[in-house]
C-alpha cells in the first residue's frame, strides 16, 4: 500500500512525503492528549482551581508549536544542519549548565529544567542534548568513513557523547537521560560498523555489571543510597511500599486492576491521586487500567509501526548521513519507549523516563517532533531508484 502510493506520487512529483509515519505520530499525539486529560483531570481540578484541562491544554500548546517546528524542519534539506553539528554539541553543554543559573528550575528534588526568559517556556536541556548528539554522531560517522571500523574509531564515537552524558547525570541528576544519550550513540555505532562481536561482548559486560550491582544492592537490604534502594524496591516492591517502591506498587495496582478489557476510558481509580506522576512517567499504567491489555497492545503496536516506518526510511535514505540521522531518532524513541514500559511494569528498577509522544511534557514532545521533522526531511530525498 505504502509502496504503491509512493510510486504513484513519484510520477507526479519528485518529492516523497511519508504520510504513514506522520499519521502514526499524529495518532500517538492525539491518543496522548486524551490520556493526559483522563489521567490528570482529577488532580488538575484539585490543584489548579477547577481547571480539569490544565495539563491537556499546556500539552496541546506544546504540540502545536512542535508540529510547526516539525513542518519547518521537514521542508529544510537535512544537509543544512550538518554545519551546526559542533555548535550543537557546545549548545547542549551550555544548556545543561543553564540549570545552575537562576533560570534553572528545581522540581521533584532535581534541577532538570531552565526557563527561557520572556515566554516562560520550560526546557529540559537533556532533550536538546539528545537531538544535538544524534546530529553530531551522524556527521562523525560520515566523516570517519571506514575509520569507524577500527577500535580507535569506535572509542572516539563512544567518547564524544560521554562528557555530555556525565554532565546530564551529575548536573541535572538525570541518570536515565544520560543512559539514553549513551544508548543512542552505541546504537548508531552499531549500525555504522559492520562488526557484531564487539557489541555482543559489550552487551555481556553490561549484563554482568548490572548483575553485580543488583547483587550488591540486595546485600545492602534497602539501607544503601537512593539508587540502591530503588533496586531493592524493584526486586520486592511490597517491602518498600511506603518509600521507594510506592510509585511502582501503585503502578502495578493500576496495571493489574485493568485486566484484559480495562475499566473503560476515564474510569481509572489509581489516577485519583493514588499514583504519583500519573499523567507523566506513569501514564502507561493508566492506559493499562482504563483500556486494558488491548489498549496496551495497541500502544506497543503503534510504536513498532513507527520504528518500522523509520527503518524503511533509513534503509532507503539517499545517503549515509540521512540514514544515520534516522537511526539516531529510532534509537532515541525506541529506547525511551522500551525503558518507560519496562519501568512501569517493574521489569527494571524505577527511573524517571517519559513515554515518547504520550507522556505530559512540553519540551520532550517538541524536540521529538523536531526529530520527526528530520526523519520526514530524509524521507523526502528518497529516490525511486533506490526503493
Amino acid at each position: 500500500m505504502a509502496g504503491k502510493s509512493r510510486r504513484r506520487r513519484k510520477e507526479q512529483t519528485e518529492y516523497f512525503f511519508d504520510y504513514s509515519l506522520l499519521f502514526i505520530v499524529l495518532f500517538l499525539l492525539g491518543f496522548g492528549l486524551v490520556m493526559i486529560y483522563s489521567a490528570s483531570s482529577y488532580s488538575a481540578v484539585v490543584d489548579y482551581d477547577g481547571d480539569a484541562g490544565h495539563f491537556m491544554k499546556r500539552q496541546l500548546l506544546a504540540i502545536i508549536i512542535g508540529l510547526v517546528m516539525m513542518i519547518i524542519v521537514a521542508n529544510i534539506d537535512y544537509h543544512f544542519w550538518e554545519r551546526f553539528a559542533v555548535l550543537g554539541y557546545i549548545v547542549s553543554a551550555g544548556a545543561i549548565l543553564m540549570v545552575l543559573t537562576p533560570l534553572g528550575i528545581e522540581s521533584h528534588k532535581a534541577r532538570r529544567w531552565f526557563r527561557i526568559p520572556g515566554i516562560g517556556l520550560q526546557v529540559q536541556p537533556a532533550e536538546i542534548a539528545k537531538l544535538c548528539m544524534i546530529l553530531l554522531l551522524a556527521v562523525m560517522v560520515c566523516k570517519m568513513g571506514k575509520g569507524i571500523r577500527s577500535m580507535k574509531g569506535f572509542l572516539i564515537m563512544v567518547c564524544i557523547p560521554a562528557p555530555i552524558a556525565v554532565m546530564i547525570w551529575q548536573i541535572t541528576d538525570n541518570l536515565s537521560s544520560a543512559l539514553i544519550v549513551m544508548a543512542i550513540a552505541i546504537l548508531m555505532v552499531f549500525v555504522a560498523s559492520p562488526d557484531y562481536k564487539k557489541f555482543v561482548i559489550m552487551a555481556l559486560i553490561v549484563i554482568a555489571v548490572a548483575a553485580i550491582v543488583v547483587f550488591y544492592a540486595m546485600q545492602t537490604e534497602g539501607q544503601g543510597s537512593f539508587r540502591l534502594r530503588r533496586i531493592n524496591a524493584w526486586l520486592n516492591p511490597e517491602s518498600q511500599s511506603q518509600d521507594t517502591g510506592f510509585q511502582t506498587l501503585q503502578g502495578l495496582y493500576a496495571i493489574g486492576s485493568g485486566g484484559i478489557w480495562g475499566k473503560g476510558l476515564g474510569q481509572s481509580m489509581q489516577k485519583l491521586k493514588f499514583l504519583p506522576e500519573s499523567q507523566n512517567d506513569m501514564i502507561f499504567s493508566i492506559i493499562c487500567e482504563e483500556l486494558g491489555l488491548f489498549g496496551a497492545i495497541a500502544v506497543i503496536v503503534m510504536f513498532i509501526m513507527l520504528i518500522w516506518r523509520m527503518m524503511v526510511i533509513a534503509n532507503n535514505a539517499s545517503d549515509l548521513f540521512g540514514a544515520m540521522l534516522v537511526v539516531g531518532v529510532i534509537g532515541h524513541i525506541a529506547v525511551q519507549a522500551i525503558l518507560n514500559i519496562a519501568v512501569v511494569t517493574n521489569t527494571i528498577p524505577n527511573t524517571g523516563i517519559s513515554l515518547p509522544f504520550i507522556s505530559y511534557g512540553g519540551s520532550s514532545v517538541m524536540f521529538l517532533l523536531v526529530e520527526i521533522g528530520l526523519v520526514l526531511s530524509v524521507a523526502k530525498r528518497i529516490q525511486l531508484r533506490e526503493m
Binding site: Y42, L187, F190, V191, A192, P194, L252, Y253, A254, I255, G256, S257, G258, G259, I260, M269, Q270, L272, K273, F274, C288, G292, L293, A296, I297, I300, F303, I304, I307, W308, M311, A314, N315, L320, A323, V327, I330, G331, A334, A337, I338, I341, A342, T345, T347
Partner: protein
C-alpha cells in the same frame, strides 16, 4: 559506498528486530501482569480505594415466656464529622453546639482536628439526629445506630443484665446469650481518592447487617413484677438488707421469676445509689457497681439452715435410715462426740415420729438421722443429689458449693450439715435440689433461655437442658411431698398455707457467721400443688429486723405469691 549500504541495511534490520523483540518481551510481561496477576492486584487496589464504615446489627430482643419485650432496641444517632469534606467549619460548629448542647470549645476541637473521621457524639436521640441531617451540611455524618433499651427499667435487672457501648453484653443474660443476640455487623464501603474524599460516581456498597435473634426466656413478666413488689415490701417492713425470691417450675427447671431487691435501673446501670460518697477511685466505683449488679440467687452462697432438712430427710428415707413412722425423743439437745448441740426449742420436743420431727424442725432428730447414715453414706447422697456441682443455670457467675472434704468430716461436722449449717450453697442450688426431691427424683437444670426466634418469630433454636433421673425413688419423693405438706398445713410453715391449695414447704432461720452477731437469714421454700408440684419458690430475707423467723417473715411472702400466681398459672383449685 555500495558495500557500506548493504551491511548498513542489514544492521538496521537487526536493530529493528532487536527493538521489536524488546517490545514483545514487554508485551509478555504485560500479559503476565494483566491476566495472571490481575486478581491479586485488583483486590489490593480495591482495598486501597474503599473506606469502611460499620453498620451495627440490630441486637435481638429478649422476650418473656408470653412474648412481652423485656429488652428492646431504640434507634439513636452517632454524629461525626469528616474533616476533608467540611466546607464551612463555622456553621458546622454552630449547628452542632446548638443541637447537641455541647460546649463550643469541645466541638471546635473535634471539628478542626485533622483526622479521617471524628466522632462528635454518640447515642443522640433520633429526632435530634434527623434535625441535624436536615441542615444538609457537607462533612457532617449522621449514622443511625441501635441502643439497648429496657422498657421496664428495673424489672429483672440482675437477670437480664445490660450492654456496653458497642452493644455487647456485659452481665446477665445479655452476656450469656451474646452469640444468639448480637447478629452480624454490616458495613458501608465507600470509594475514596488518596486524600479520603468520596468519589461520588462510584456510589457505595453496603453489606447489610444480619440482625441478632430474639431470645425467649422463661421469665413471666407478671410473676416477676409481683414478686418484685413483694420483695420490696418485705425489705421495707423488715428493714432488711436484701430480699431474694426465686420462682421455678420444679418439673422442668424453667425459672418464672428471679428477684433480688434492691434492683437497679437497666437504662442507667452506671449510676451509683444516692448517698454514695463523692470522689471514689475508679476501682472503688467498680466494686460498688459490681455489688449492685450481682445476682444474689446465683452468685452468693449462704448457710441454708433448716430448709436443708428436706435433703437430709430425703437421704434418710432413701437410705432406709429412717421411715416416716420412726420415733425419736428430743430432750432439747443432743451430744455428738464431746459437743452438746441444742434444739431451737430449749425444753425439747419430747417423743415424736419423724413426720412430726420435720414439722417441728427438730435438730436432734435430724442429727440422729445423719449419724445413723454415717459420714460416707451421707456424703455420697450429698454428691448424688448434685449438691457439689453447679446447677448449670444459664446465667454467668454461678457460685459453687462450699463444703467440707469428706476426709475432714467427723461426727460433729456431719451433725451440723444434717440441719443445714457449717457449709454454704446458693439459693438456686437449694431450690433445684428441693425440686428434684419433690418432682419424683429428676435433677433438672434451672434455666431461663427457651428459644431463639428470628425477626419473623420463627423458632430458630430450642434450647434443651440435661435432666438426671433417679436422684431419689418415686416412693421417697411421694413421702417427702406428704411430709412437707404436713409442715405447711400443721407444722412450722403454717404461714405458707394458701386457701384452697395444697402447699408443701419448709422454713429456715439461719444465723449468719460470725455467730452471735444478731444477723439472721430467714427463708422459706414452698411448692404447690403439694401432690403434683407445678411451681416452687424460695424467699430469702437477709438480715430482717425484729421478728426474724423464716416461718413468720418468709413464709407469708411465698403465700401471697402463690395466692396470686397459682390461679394465674392455671393451676386448678383443690377442693379440700
Amino acid at each position: 559506498m555500495e558495500q557500506n549500504r548493504i551491511f548498513h541495511r542489514r544492521k538496521i534490520m537487526t536493530l529493528f528486530f532487536l527493538l521489536t523483540a524488546a517490545f514483545l518481551f514487554l508485551f509478555g510481561r504485560l500479559v503476565y501482569l494483566m491476566v495472571w496477576r490481575a486478581d491479586y492486584y485488583s483486590t489490593l487496589a480495591t482495598q486501597l480505594h474503599e473506606r469502611e464504615r460499620d453498620i451495627k446489627a440490630a441486637r435481638g430482643r429478649i422476650l418473656d415466656r408470653n412474648g412481652t419485650v423485656l429488652a428492646d432496641n431504640k434507634t439513636v444517632c452517632t454524629i461525626s464529622v469528616i474533616y476533608n469534606q467540611i466546607e464551612d467549619p463555622e456553621s458546622v460548629i454552630q449547628v452542632l453546639c446548638d443541637e447537641l448542647g455541647m460546649s463550643e470549645e469541645s466541638v471546635r476541637k473535634k471539628v478542626e482536628k485533622y483526622s479521617a473521621m471524628e466522632r462528635i457524639k454518640s447515642n443522640v436521640d433520633k429526632e435530634i439526629g434527623d434535625r441535624i441531617r436536615e441542615y444538609d451540611l457537607p462533612g457532617v455524618k449522621v449514622d443511625e445506630d441501635y441502643k439497648r433499651y429496657y422498657p421496664y427499667g428495673e424489672l429483672a435487672s440482675k437477670v437480664l443484665g445490660f450492654t456496653g457501648g458497642d452493644n455487647q453484653g456485659i452481665v446477665g443474660l445479655e452476656v450469656k446469650y451474646e452469640e444468639v443476640l448480637k447478629g452480624e455487623a454490616g458495613s458501608i464501603l465507600t470509594v475514596t481518592d488518596a486524600a479520603g474524599i468520596e468519589v461520588e460516581r462510584m456510589g457505595e456498597r453496603r453489606l447489610e447487617p444480619v440482625p441478632g435473634y430474639d431470645l425467649r426466656v422463661s421469665l413471666d413478666r407478671n410473676i416477676q413484677t409481683y414478686a418484685t413488689q413483694l420483695a420490696y415490701q418485705a425489705m421495707e417492713t423488715k428493714e432488711a438488707d436484701s430480699v431474694s425470691i426465686l420462682v421455678m417450675n420444679p418439673q422442668n427447671g424453667e425459672i418464672y421469676a428471679c428477684v433480688n431487691v434492691p434492683e437497679f435501673d437497666l437504662n442507667q446501670p452506671y449510676e451509683l445509689p444516692e448517698g454514695t460518697q463523692e470522689g471514689l477511685s475508679t476501682e472503688e466505683r467498680q466494686d460498688i457497681l459490681n455489688n449492685i449488679w450481682r445476682n444474689g440467687c446465683i452468685s452468693d452462697t449462704y448457710e441454708p439452715g433448716s430448709t436443708f432438712k428436706i435433703i437430709t430427710a430425703a437421704a434418710g428415707l432413701e437410705s432406709g435410715a429412717v421411715t416416716p413412722e420412726s420415733t425419736f425423743s428430743c430432750p432439747g439437745f443432743i451430744v455428738v462426740d464431746d459437743r452438746k448441740i441444742r434444739c431451737h426449742k430449749v425444753g425439747g420436743h419430747g417423743s415424736e415420729d419423724f413426720v412430726h420431727a420435720t414439722m417441728n424442725s427438730c435438730n436432734p432428730v435430724f442429727i440422729t438421722v445423719g449419724l445413723r447414715m454415717g459420714v460416707e453414706q451421707y456424703y455420697s447422697y450429698f454428691e448424688n443429689f448434685g449438691l457439689k456441682k453447679k446447677t448449670g443455670v444459664d446465667l454467668p457467675g454461678e457460685a459453687g458449693t462450699i463444703m467440707h472434704k469428706m476426709e475432714d468430716m467427723g461426727n460433729v461436722e456431719l451433725a451440723t450439715v444434717s440441719f443445714g449449717q457449717s457449709f454454704q450453697i446458693t439459693p438456686i442450688q437449694l431450690l433445684t435440689t428441693a425440686s428434684s426431691i419433690v418432682n419424683g427424683g429428676r435433677r433438672i437444670t434451672p434455666h431461663l433461655g427457651m428459644e431463639a426466634l428470628d425477626s419473623e418469630g420463627n423458632v430458630v433454636e430450642t434450647f434443651t437442658y440435661p435432666v438426671e433421673e433417679g436422684i431419689v425413688s418415686e416412693e421417697t419423693s411421694a413421702t417427702m411431698r406428704e411430709i412437707l405438706e404436713m409442715v405447711v398445713s400443721e407444722g412450722g410453715g403454717k404461714n405458707g398455707q394458701v386457701e384452697g391449695y395444697r402447699v408443701g414447704g419448709k422454713t429456715a432461720t439461719s444465723q449468719t457467721l460470725p455467730r452471735g452477731s444478731g444477723r439472721y437469714i430467714a427463708s422459706f421454700v414452698g411448692f404447690a400443688p403439694a401432690d403434683d408440684p407445678q411451681v416452687i419458690a424460695i424467699a430469702i430475707i437477709n438480715n430482717p429486723q425484729g421478728v426474724y423467723y423464716g416461718g413468720q417473715v418468709s413464709a407469708p411472702i411465698v403465700r401471697q405469691l402463690f395466692e396470686n400466681i397459682l390461679p394465674y398459672l392455671g393451676i386448678m383449685e383443690y377442693n379440700q
